[in-house]
């Protein structure tokens, strides 16, 4: 492949990403070309690297998110660029963010399970908002009475928060070593009222912890 051909592919990919206005996968980019001239995956990847570098020092950057690559305005200029838009950026309630966080970190999860952890009911409004924004979708039903829906996050959720996959979510704060916790509980309980040691909580905590690890 000549320098010139590569430069052309670079311009086409660049133009397409700007015209699309949404993330495009490498496959989608390759499909812009007819079969005989269609560049290999590696070529497109290479070109994307070049495009990314060409954004150095510019007001925008090439960003990889879950559904592909997109151009976006650099965060540093958001305070000015944000003035283009009359509406203040939407703030999301704590209830919504906590619900979303639980779905993101503990998916697939039912509404009942979310409520157990949060200690309050989850309003239907919140679930509707999350589903309408396509941040969350129903991935199945748990095989228990009532067959409650299980929720999981979507690629749009990752795109919106500038992530390529769930691993990029900020790590969950550590729950302290479980043995240590139960020892402390015992010690404290004993210290306070001379209780008999109990380590019955342990298995349950273990189970929870394992569940979380599988997500990462």
């Amino acid at each position: 492949m000549t320098e010139q051909q590569l430069a052309q592919i670079q311009c086409i990919v660049e133009g397409a990403l700007l015209a699309a206005g949404k993330p495009m996968s490498i496959e989608q980019l390759r499909e812009l070309f007819d079969e005989p001239e269609r560049p290999a995956r590696q070529v497109v990847e290479h070109v994307l690297t070049l495009i990314g570098k060409a954004c150095d020092g510019r007001g925008f950057e090439l960003k990889q998110v879950a559904s592909g690559y997109r151009f976006q305005v650099r965060e540093a200029y958001a305070p000015w660029v944000g003035r283009l838009f009359e509406e203040r950026p939407q703030r999301y309630s704590r209830a919504l963010l906590e619900t979303l966080a639980l779905i993101a970190y503990r998916q697939p999860i039912t509404r009942g399970e979310i409520e157990d952890i949060r200690g309050v009911t989850v309003s239907s409004n919140i679930m509707r908002t999350l589903l309408e924004r396509e941040w969350v979708r129903i991935v199945g039903h748990r095989d228990v009475p009532g067959r409650p829906a299980m929720y999981a996050t979507t690629r749009q959720f990752l795109d919106y928060f500038n992530l390529t996959n769930l691993d990029q979510l900020p790590p969950l704060a550590d729950v302290r070593d479980l043995d240590e916790i139960s020892r402390e509980i015992e010690a404290q309980v004993q210290g306070e009222i001379d209780f008999t040691p109990s380590d019955t909580v342990q298995p349950q905590d273990d189970a929870d912890d394992n569940g979380e690890q599988t997500l990462h």
Binding site: E75, R94, A101, G119, D194
Partner: protein, 279 residues
């Protein structure tokens, strides 16, 4: 009332430093309420705002624990329970509509407290569900996800921290993908047009051999516009007898339709063809 969400969160995070950097919890009659009064006398309006800021009993408990700068594992259950109950009482006296979860939590706290007052006793039942350990576990879980939600809120977000970059598509000819055609649709169209034209009555059409028609087109296309071509060159041996017959029939048809002319300069001499419309 400004930003009821921010206040307790800020306090919870700051823990002991609450007094140092007070943020207004609420505004009552225009005046900022900076701090929850120690005696728990809270003007009813402010309390309503204050409580709305909590995401349920676990959140309220976490707040109380943090306010006392306690480790969750170190909760002074008696003190926390007392304060929690005070909040519940105030809420009830002002008939603030209280979610059932708050009352359930009150009951749980009461149970833990009562157990602690009981003399030491061992029973399997107790070991199996120690409400205190269970409460701690739930508080820890909730705290993790509360923190996760806060972290998530700081992720760079489209429409707030970044904006999708777009450019006007290039001017382009209206390219339209070509429609698919189903053979049946074409045949139905043909049937209709032939019915209209009453062409079916013509035996000529019905018996038409399409291979001949096709070959007629091929011969016409092969004929140079300005000169003769030799008769033999239109036949190809590898097509076999059938091919020769089809070509011959096509040629006869072309002659009949006066589309080509045939020239033979001398008897048994070479035969030549040319398109009649050729200029």
């Amino acid at each position: 009332m400004t930003d009821p969400l921010a206040a307790p969160e800020a306090q919870a995070e700051q823990g002991a430093s609450v007094e140092v950097a007070p943020a207004p919890l609420a505004r009552v009659a225009g005046k900022p309420v900076v701090e929850i009064p120690k005696d728990l006398y809270i003007p009813p309006d402010a309390l309503a705002v204050f409580l709305e800021a909590f995401e349920g009993p676990l959140d309220l408990l976490l707040y109380l624990i943090r306010r006392h700068n306690m480790d969750i594992l170190d909760i002074d259950v008696s003190e926390i329970t007392r304060q929690y109950m005070d909040y519940i009482d105030v809420m009830e006296t002002m008939r603030f509509e209280l979610a059932a979860e708050y009352l359930v939590m009150a009951a749980t706290l009461a149970e833990i407290k009562s157990r602690m007052l009981l003399p030491r006793q061992v029973s399997d039942e107790d070991e199996e569900n120690d409400p205190r350990a269970e409460l701690i576990r739930r508080l820890q879980q909730y705290e993790r996800f509360k923190k996760a939600a806060e972290d998530m809120d700081t992720l760079p977000r489209v429409e707030r921290d970044t904006f999708i970059a777009t450019a006007e598509p290039p001017p382009m000819p209206r390219t339209q993908a070509q429609p698919d055609v189903d053979m049946m649709d074409m045949l139905l169209a043909l049937r209709d047009v032939l019915k209209r034209a009453d062409m079916f009555s013509s035996h000529h059409v019905e018996r038409e051999r399409l291979s001949t028609r096709e070959r007629m087109s091929a011969i016409l296309a092969a004929l140079p516009a300005d000169r003769f071509i030799s008769f033999e060159s239109l036949f190809s041996v590898h097509e076999g007898r059938l091919g020769v017959v089809v070509t011959f029939l096509a040629m006869l048809e072309l002659i009949k339709e006066q589309l080509v002319e045939l020239v033979q300069a001398e008897v048994l001499g070479p035969i030549h063809l040319r398109a009649r419309a050729a200029s």
